[in-house]
């Protein structure tokens, strides 16, 4: 009986968490770098959100702010880089190795 009850409780918690996520943008979104593309290429977040980039390619990439405010180290396969955006506005970034790769973060 105890097992079933805790299972129901867990399901309830998951349901609540799920609905919260559906209403708001993810609290910790990830931008995947794959096939020389930032995905999603455009991401809208709330101020204070931390964005994580993860490189899934077999070649290094990097995340460089066009406005030169931030720049990741070279991200080899599987490496991650995180950045918290506090100010509303638009940030265009690109890959320092392959500048034709461009992405955008919209903070509002």
């Amino acid at each position: 009986m105890i097992g079933r009850r805790s299972l129901i409780a867990t399901a309830l918690v998951l349901a609540i968490a799920g609905s919260a996520l559906a209403e708001d943008a993810p609290l910790a979104p990830t931008v995947k770098i794959e096939n020389f593309t930032f995905s999603p290429a455009e991401l809208t977040i709330k101020p204070g959100t931390t964005v994580t980039w993860e490189n899934a390619d077999d070649i290094p990439h990097s995340v460089v702010d066009k406005g030169t405010k931030f720049k990741s180290k070279p991200l080899d396969t599987g490496d991650k880089f995180s950045m918290t955006f506090t100010e509303p506005g638009e940030v265009t970034y690109f890959c320092g190795f392959h500048p034709h790769m461009v992405g955008k973060i919209i903070v509002k």
Binding site: F36, P60, Y93, H98, P99
Partner: protein
Amino acid sequence: MSHHDDDQGGNGLTRRHALECMIWAGTGVLWTLAGGVPVSRGFLGSAQAAEASGFSFLQISDSHIGFNKPANPHADDTLKAAIGKVKAMPGKPAFMLHTGDITHLSKPEQFDTATQMIGEAGLDVHYVPGEHDLVDEGSGKAYLDRYGKNAKGAGWYSFDQAGVHFVGLVNVVGMKPGGMGSLGAEQLAWLADDLKAQADSTPIVVFAHIPLYALYPEWGWGTDDGDQALTLLKRFGSVTVLNGHIHQLMQKVEGNVSFYTARSTAFPQPAPGTAPSPGPMVVPSEKLRGLLGVRNVLFTPGKALLAVTDSSLEGV
């Protein structure tokens, strides 16, 4: 792949196509381009027996020391094989060019390994950086400390060899978001000044990492302000442009300018547009060395076109 502009010849397309096919197929065949017409001169052996008054030099590229992914878990072994191939070449080349991406991640130990291995060839080596060589914390300090002693700016320079003017350019600095390779105003001004001293008849060899023309912009394979450099080179009767970056052979002739991209010594990349991305191409291990290689370039006085011979590492 065909990314060629027409030359002046009426039947340029047919000739070009034939040449292109042969280049893709061939290793060890020496092509002399006389007046735009490619003429086979047999196998490697005859190259050294050719004109003793000229000289030859070598090009290697994209050694990516530190790369260990499935496309080639042992990039150091294949560089070693490439240098072995260089040492076994008949005749003594005047020097070797390395057209960038010496290392994979600009780490000191990667530069040290590469320098040591390449040094085994016993040749003077003239380097230009690739984008993988400038990602140290000092944004290129590690490269310039090792290879930039006689260079200007981000690492550009020129030198002369037996009547031929060589220019090493850097097109991997100051790249713009959404753009491709970049030379920048400072380097272009230097190039204009450097070329001023050269007669129209002086053969010019330009070497850089990324192709100077828009070879495949969808993958960033080109240089945004490359046209400005090519405009400065227009008045010369013989211009050869050598680069790496795309890890495969590609050739184009435009007027008096011949462009050649080189193979890597580390891993192949797909032909333009044939894969979802230009990332390292995984091939069966027994096929890998056939897609890697070294290049020999022969200059013969009085001949506008230099003879370019690419040899794969197959069987090395």
